[in-house]
Each structure stands twice: as structure tokens, then as C-alpha cells.
Symmetry: C2
Subunit: 213 residues, 2 copies
């Protein structure tokens, strides 16, 4: 199994690295970070550079993980990235996205008529792109698997691992990364966080017109 994780300028680090940490531990699986060019790609804020080890066209018939992040908004028009996504999607076993990465897949026409999720602030952007939004943390529709915001890529990747290589291996990976989460607060979803925090994040987001969730 070969999995390409897409990097683009101003992606969100954990969107990409959460799935990497799980998927890179699967047997007979190669995970490759790909970008328009080889070399360093910077996260939102610029504080971290990850290395794209291959260009889009250098990886043959991969499965794909598309992360999100503020840079997503630069990739909503047709062009080489969308053409690459549509081309690899023809042969993927799974085509996946984390956070606002699903908006890129949707804009490329890959999710049309399907159900998907995204960051809670971006859910109704999916509707505008012809995709049925779901508030679930991980959404599976055929071979298309999407995860909610940022940290949800870990849950998505473990679910994928279970489907692709079996529950035993998925549980082995979960124990290996000691994924027994204990958030110190219960504020990780808009229906759990204090209303003023939800409102503040919405006001600061790049999706201000989104409906209240």
C-alpha cells in the first residue's frame, strides 16, 4: 500500500501528521509526503516546515490523504492539483481528507453527491460544493473517508487501519502510540464548548457566513 499525504503552503500540521503517525506503522505500507515541488512546505503561521519528498507526479497510484488548513482556500479552483486528485482518485482504494481538506476534494468534484465532514466551522461550505455535510467525526461514503477538524485525523486513520489491515493491527498501532486520550477539558466540539468560545472562534474564522452549528 502506498499513501500520499499532500502538503501545501499553510496546511495544518496535525491534519497531516496525525494520519501519518498511524498509517506509517501499518505493515507493507509506504507513506510519502507529496507537494507541487519537492522541499520544505510551511504550516499555517510558518512555525514548522515539513518536507515534501516527491512531487505529485512522482508517486504512482497512491491512496491519498488531503489535510486542511488556511492554505486550503488557495486550492479551490481547477488546476494541476485538482487534475492530480481526480487522476489518482481513479485508482485509489481510499481517498481521504482531514479538516478543510474535504473542501479541496469537493471543489475538485470528487465528492459530488456524497456525504462528508470537515472542520465544524466549514461544514456548510460542503453544501455549497454539492456535498451533504455530516457532523460525525469520521464519515465513510464508499471509498471516500473524511474527518472533522485537525485532531480527528488520528481517529480516521485508526478506523482506516481497521478496515484495511484488520482490527488486531489497528489496536496494536493504537497501543503503540498510547492513544488513550484524556483531554483536560471537554470543549472539543461546538456542542460541548462554552457558547462564547464557539462564537469567538466563528467570528475569527475564515468562514464567517457559516450557520451556527
Amino acid at each position: 500500500m502506498r499513501i500520499a499525504i499532500l502538503l501545501f503552503d499553510r496546511f495544518t500540521a496535525l491534519d497531516a501528521v496525525g494520519p501519518y503517525e498511524v498509517l506509517s506503522r501499518l505493515p507493507d505500507t509506504e507513506v510519502v509526503f507529496v507537494g507541487r515541488d519537492r522541499g520544505t512546505v510551511r504550516t499555517e503561521g510558518g512555525g514548522l516546515g515539513l518536507v515534501a519528498d516527491a512531487t505529485l507526479d512522482e508517486v504512482s497510484r497512491p491512496d491519498v490523504v488531503v489535510p486542511g488548513g488556511p492554505g486550503q482556500s488557495e486550492h479551490m479552483s481547477d488546476g494541476p492539483l485538482h487534475r492530480w486528485l481526480r487522476a489518482v482518485d481513479e485508482t485509489t482504494v481510499r481517498t481521504t481528507a482531514v479538516c478543510t481538506g474535504s473542501l479541496i476534494l469537493a471543489a475538485a468534484g470528487i465528492l459530488t453527491g456524497r456525504t462528508a465532514t470537515s472542520h465544524w466551522l466549514a461544514l456548510d461550505q460542503l453544501s455549497a460544493l454539492g456535498v451533504s455535510p455530516s457532523g460525525e467525526r469520521v464519515v465513510v461514503d464508499g471509498k471516500y473517508v473524511t474527518a472533522a477538524g485537525v485532531s480527528s485525523g488520528i481517529d480516521m486513520a485508526l478506523a482506516l487501519a481497521g478496515e484495511l489491515v484488520g482490527e488486531d493491527t489497528a489496536q496494536r498501532v493504537q497501543l503503540g502510540i498510547e492513544y488513550d486520550p484524556r483531554p483536560p477539558y471537554d470543549a472539543g466540539a461546538p456542542d460541548k464548548a462554552p457558547a462564547e468560545i464557539v462564537a469567538a472562534l466563528r467570528q475569527r474564522s475564515r468562514f464567517p457566513r457559516s450557520r451556527a452549528v
Copy 2:
């Protein structure tokens, strides 16, 4: 606040990027990835390169996050890294580690007589280094904060955020990264995973002499 996240060859990606994703979102906080040299540092397995943007000595008076990973075993002897850790520890607000990063801090003499945690497979290595091991997911002993295996760095960083800048901000970050975890399996700790999976991981680990947990 300035926070240095240490990179070394064959570190574990999520150990470093989990805390980064939380801490880089705190107000007035600069997070810098540091290494012995500037440039690309490869994770265990080599599948991902992160960029060290500064050498150890180029970051003035930072707080520090030490990740773990297989490369930890190369950093258990006194030398420039231990000297740097001891020097920055003199002025840190918090000195922290994720996973087997705590073994590096312990080997540098920084945790002597204190209580700390580590990856579940490495807990009794702490004892051998004069540190009291704790099976808690996040352990706070004075200004020393340690987290269990790999994914626990996210929980640690949110707890740190709450202490350093307040619960409101920590909850805002948690909602921003939609950290409302839903692991598809309940196998993330050795007392929860099937016994044969625990045994298999222990047998394959680099800590085969550790006691059964």
C-alpha cells in the same frame, strides 16, 4: 513565551507535532523547532522530515519540549545535548517531555528524585535513572511536565495551556483543533488492550527487559 521543540534523528513525529499544534496557537507564543544542526531531521522510519529552524544555541532562554522515539537511545550519554538541556532548564518556566523524551531528561540528570511518566513500555527505565515512574497520562512535578506515549503530548499541551494562559484559551484551542477524540477501539493503554497485543508490542520493543505493566 518562547518554546523550543527538540528534533533528533529518528524522533516520533506526533510526539513533537501534537504539542506544536496546541502550543503554536497560544497568544504571544513562539514555537521553534531546534536541532543540533539546522535543516531536515527524519522521523523513525525516515518517512517524514521536519525542519529544524535553529540550532540549540540560537534560541534564547526557551521553555522546552523533548519528544521521544527510537532515536532517544542515542541521547542517553552526557554531551552537548545534555549540557544544553541543563542550561535551558535553569531558566525555563516549564521543562517538558513526551514519550521516551523523559528518558533523555532523566539521563541528563534533570528529573532526578522527581516523578515522571513515559511510554508505557519505558516506564521502568525511569526507575533505573533515579526517577519515580507514574502510569498517569500527564505528570506534573513542579515545573517538570511529562506525558506518556506519543499521542499524550496533545493532552499535555492542553493542560500546559490551561496553566500558562488560562482555561478559556486552552478550551478555545481545543475547539479549534476539534479535539473531541473518538478512538474506534479502546486499546490505547496496556490495561485496556488485548493481552496478546500488549505482549507482542513488548516483545518487539527496545525495552524487552521491562516488567509487565
